[in-house]
């Protein structure tokens, strides 16, 4: 505990003082501080005067200022602060002054904390200048202090999370301008694209990576006035509770509990005020946000400390990566649990609110979304844990010197295929839980009366994971990225363009698309539609999708065999 306090003691942190000195010099910071003061004063004073002049109550007028103020504060801390943190750490690395700091006996975590809170210190100063405006809003608006505290705790945790990500990413990137732009892009993408999209796709927990849920839960109810009154679609959705028609069996017709009503906006899936479903529990958005972002802060801090200790090590150890994948799988399943067990539909999913469509969409869509999300995370983890040829050879030589045949499976330098296959095992375990519960809830029987061929999608996912792993081992990072573009995306794009030109789906496009492992994965996921349709009629689309899947499977196995052979040749040569 004492050492943790020591790490967090900024008064005794030389790195923090270094930035306090360099960035808060009046002639450096004056322009930004003045700009903040002027803009914030303008944005808060003018609407307040206008509103009170037209007769709005002072309390309402003051409360209405909170969201504009939060936008300014968010721009300062989340956007500008993140960009500066990423760019600053990259610049330190380029200047080699990071190496000086590495050689001091200052604890790695203390260094990381120093950079984390020191690099964006100007942004914290700018934020501090907005606090008098906040005080005015809180006092005039009569806003409970606890509400203010929970909103700003969440904003602060989110800020630390984004800045920690910037530190971890900055430790890897090589050009500060790329880091600067990439971090701005990531913040915008996360808040405005991933958060809403993830909710629609059923990965609702991803929206808690932004500060919006807590604002929705705490700020929106506070805000009064015509511009900020919650609309019917933003209110709590209470009619999505369990209903008799959602149990197992073929009764997925529209029922009274699944009709339209007040609840989440089906267009965006945002439902900020609702408790977060997690297995059989419901957590408050505030608590869930803190837990999720806190977990990720720990992960990124681990990455940064690891890179700090050894600049040429992987950002993540293999065991940590496996733990991260397990946590992700548990989160995905825990978050969609009420849906897959057929208990309730706690948030809009796939933009559909017609029961029959939704049931089919869930049965088809959830496993596909799960597969794509797991594949995306595994690819990220592979990029962070698969050794380069240089590392692999170094591991072999080191092992030989120590009298071993090869590096230990969990070492950074190891390319142990069996150990790396644990990623696929965890993905499969998640699949097993997902399918078992969906089967129990009756989703699968609804789709395929002849018995659901559950092996297709898991098989395709495992093969694609093995393929991705081999791709990285044989071609290393750059080659693998090129291959992802040429083999994963290009065939799909060609097939889409040809289909648009021909205005129909033929075997040709299917075969071209199936070169892409991604298309094979999608085809495997879409097969149940084909099965269902096949019961009614001999549809040509069914035959096309089926052909696409089996052709893709063939391509995938062939590519795995080729890469496997290349890897064996390469291993012999490298040894």
């Amino acid at each position: 505990m004492q050492s943790l306090l020591g790490v967090l003691n900024l008064a005794d942190n030389p790195v923090f003082h270094r930035y306090r000195r360099s960035q808060l010099r009046l002639k450096v910071s004056m322009a930004w501080l003045l700009l903040t003061l002027i803009v914030t004063t303008f944005v808060t004073t003018l609407p307040y005067i206008i509103q009170t002049n037209i007769g709005a109550p002072e309390q309402a007028a003051a409360r209405n200022l909170w969201i504009p103020l939060l936008i300014i504060q968010g721009l300062i801390l989340l956007l500008k602060g993140t960009a500066r943190t990423a760019a600053g750490i990259i610049q330190e690395k380029i200047d080699q002054t990071l190496d000086y700091q590495r050689l001091t006996p200052l604890a790695p975590l203390k260094n990381v904390v120093g950079y984390l809170l020191g690099l964006p210190i100007l942004e914290y100063a700018m934020f501090a200048l907005t606090l008098p405006h906040l005080a005015f809003i809180v006092i005039k608006g009569n806003i409970p202090l606890l509400t203010v505290l929970s909103v700003y705790t969440s904003l602060f945790v989110c800020t630390i999370f984004y800045h920690m990500t910037a530190v971890a990413v900055g430790m890897v990137m090589k050009r500060w301008i790329v880091g600067y732009m990439a971090s701005i892009f990531s913040v915008v993408l996360l808040n405005l694209v991933i958060a809403p999209l993830s909710s629609i796709l059923g990965l609702k927990f991803l929206q808690y990576l932004s500060v919006f849920p807590v604002i929705g839960q705490k700020v929106q109810p506070m805000v009064e006035g015509p511009g900020f009154t919650p609309g019917p679609n933003l209110g709590p959705g209470q009619n999505f509770g369990p209903g008799p028609n959602f149990g197992p069996g073929p009764n997925f017709g529209p029922g009274p509990n699944f009709g339209a009503g007040p609840g989440p906006d089906p267009g965006t899936g945002f439902d900020f005020a609702e408790p977060v479903p997690f297995f059989d529990m419901t957590l408050s958005p505030f608590l869930f946000t803190i837990l999720l972002q806190g977990g990720l802060i720990v992960t990124f801090a681990t990455m940064a400390v690891r890179r700090w200790k050894k600049a040429d090590k992987h950002s993540l150890s293999k065991p940590y990566a496996l733990g991260m994948l397990t946590a992700f799988v548990v989160l995905v399943i825990g978050n969609t649990w009420p849906i897959i067990t057929g208990q309730s539909l706690p948030f809009a999913i796939f933009g559909s609110d017609v029961l029959a469509d939704r049931a089919e969409a869930i049965a088809i869509g959830l496993p596909i979304v799960y597969s794509l999300a797991v594949l995306l995370l595994c690819t990220f983890l592979y990029f962070n844990t698969v050794p380069t040829h240089h590392d692999y050879v170094r591991g072999l030589r080191r092992a030989k010197k120590l009298g071993r045949k090869a590096a230990r499976p969990w070492d950074d330098d190891s390319a142990h295929l069996a150990f790396m296959s644990l990623f696929a095992v965890i993905a499969l375990a998640g699949f097993a839980v997902l399918f078992f519960e969906m089967e129990s809830a009756g989703f699968l029987r609804f789709l395929d009366g002849t018995g659901y061929a559950a092996w297709r999608l898991p098989l395709a996912l495992v093969l694609v994971l093995v393929y991705t792993l081999l791709l990285l081992q044989v071609l290393e990072n750059r080659g693998a990225v090129l291959s992802l573009i040429l083999v994963w995306l290009l065939p799909m794009l060609v097939a889409i363009v040809v289909s648009a030109a021909m205005e129909r789906l033929t075997l040709f496009q299917t075969v071209v698309a199936s070169i892409s492992p991604l298309a094979t994965l999608l085809a495997a996921g879409l097969m149940p539609i084909g099965d269902a349709v096949a019961q009614v009629s001999e549809s040509p689309e069914f035959a096309t999708v089926r052909s696409g899947f089996y052709t893709g499977l063939g391509f995938l196995v062939a590519q795995i065999a080729l890469l496997g052979w290349r890897w064996q040749v390469l291993r012999k040569r490298l040894r």
Binding site: P14, V15, H17, R18, R21, S22, V28, D95, Q96, T97, D99, Y100, Q101, R102, L103, T104, P105, L106, K310, A311, D312, K313, H389, H390, V393, R394, R397, R398, K401, L402
Partner: protein, 314 residues
């Protein structure tokens, strides 16, 4: 523990893919030694120093600094180690004293002790009057001196200086030499790398010659020069004409190699004693070659390096 060597390296190897930058390097450095690590560009000097500074992970090998294993007890090993990289930078938007304060604080100095340490090190590199200047306003040589001051802050017992004299004027180089000698007299050991041997000759007590990742030779400066002197001498012959004919004639002599022609001069390396040189000159004159001057250049550090590298090639 005080009696432990300042540095022990056993079988150190560093690979970059297929390229071996350092190949089975072993070295022991007693306290108070100023060791010059010399070799042409790409010899593996910087890789060796970066491994010793724990900034590069070796393929294998053991490194002990003041008796502490660098990979098992990195904090203890690095506690008394000072590292100054090649083209060492300073932080441009910090004043000189702020830059040093950052590292003094990081090394555990507090309050007046920290201020005194900063002032002491600034005085040592003769930059006391620049303490309020910004890093961006310093010349190359001044920057090197500020970084040297930073390296000295925690009173290290082993200093690693990678090409420290690059960018320094002759006066600053003399100061650097004096500082290093003073540190060595206090019991600290220093490793200085350079590809310019003459830079090290008057600074070091011992020298190691690296080439293609291997340590070809190590020993005291005097021993090294003595070893090489008897083996090879650089000779320059000036002629009136017939330069090609002289070069052809020299090529037939087994004691001669590395023949180079520059205008009316022929330079070569000659393995032999003074008497052998005399015999060679007599033979040239008997052969009716128009010799104007015959100049053997013995004992230079450059010839030491050339000699060892050539030997390695053969």
């Amino acid at each position: 523990m005080d009696q432990a060597p300042a540095l022990e390296i056993d079988n150190l190897r560093v690979d970059y893919g297929d390229f071996t930058a350092v190949d089975d390097l072993s070295l022991k450095l007693p306290p108070g030694e100023i060791f010059g690590l010399v070799g042409p560009n790409g010899a593996g000097k910087t890789s060796t120093i970066r491994v010793l500074a724990s900034l590069l992970e070796p393929t294998y090998g053991e490194v002990r600094i003041l008796g502490h294993d660098l990979f098992e007890e990195p904090v203890k090993a690095l506690e008394r180690l000072g590292y100054m990289p090649d083209l060492a930078p300073v932080v441009p938007n910090l004043k000189v004293w702020e830059f040093l304060d950052l590292y003094a604080h990081s090394f555990g100095f507090r309050g007046s002790e920290k201020r005194d340490r900063v002032d002491h090190c600034l005085a040592k590199v003769k930059l006391g009057d620049k303490r309020n200047d910004y890093g961006r306003a310093l010349s190359r040589g001044m920057t090197q001196r500020v970084v040297l001051a930073k390296t000295l802050l925690h009173n290290p017992k082993l200093l690693l200086l990678d090409e420290p004299a690059s960018g320094m004027d002759p006066l600053a180089r003399r100061d650097l030499r004096l500082i290093l000698q003073e540190l060595a007299a206090d019991g600290a050991s220093v490793i200085v790398s350079s590809h310019i041997l003459s830079e090290l000759a008057d600074m070091c007590t011992s020298v190691g010659v690296m080439h293609k990742g291997r340590l070809l030779h190590s020993g005291s400066i005097a021993d090294t020069l003595a070893t090489i002197k008897s083996e090879a001498t650089a000779v320059r012959v000036e002629l009136v004409d017939s330069v090609e004919a002289v070069a052809d004639w020299l090529r037939r002599d087994e004691r001669v190699d590395e023949i180079q022609i520059e205008g009316l001069r022929v330079s070569f390396r000659f393995r032999g004693e003074k008497r052998d040189q005399h015999e060679l000159l007599r033979a040239m004159i008997r052969g009716d070659f128009p010799v104007v001057a015959f100049s053997p250049r013995e004992g230079g550090m450059e010839s030491v390096l050339m000699s060892l590298i050539t030997e390695e090639r053969h």
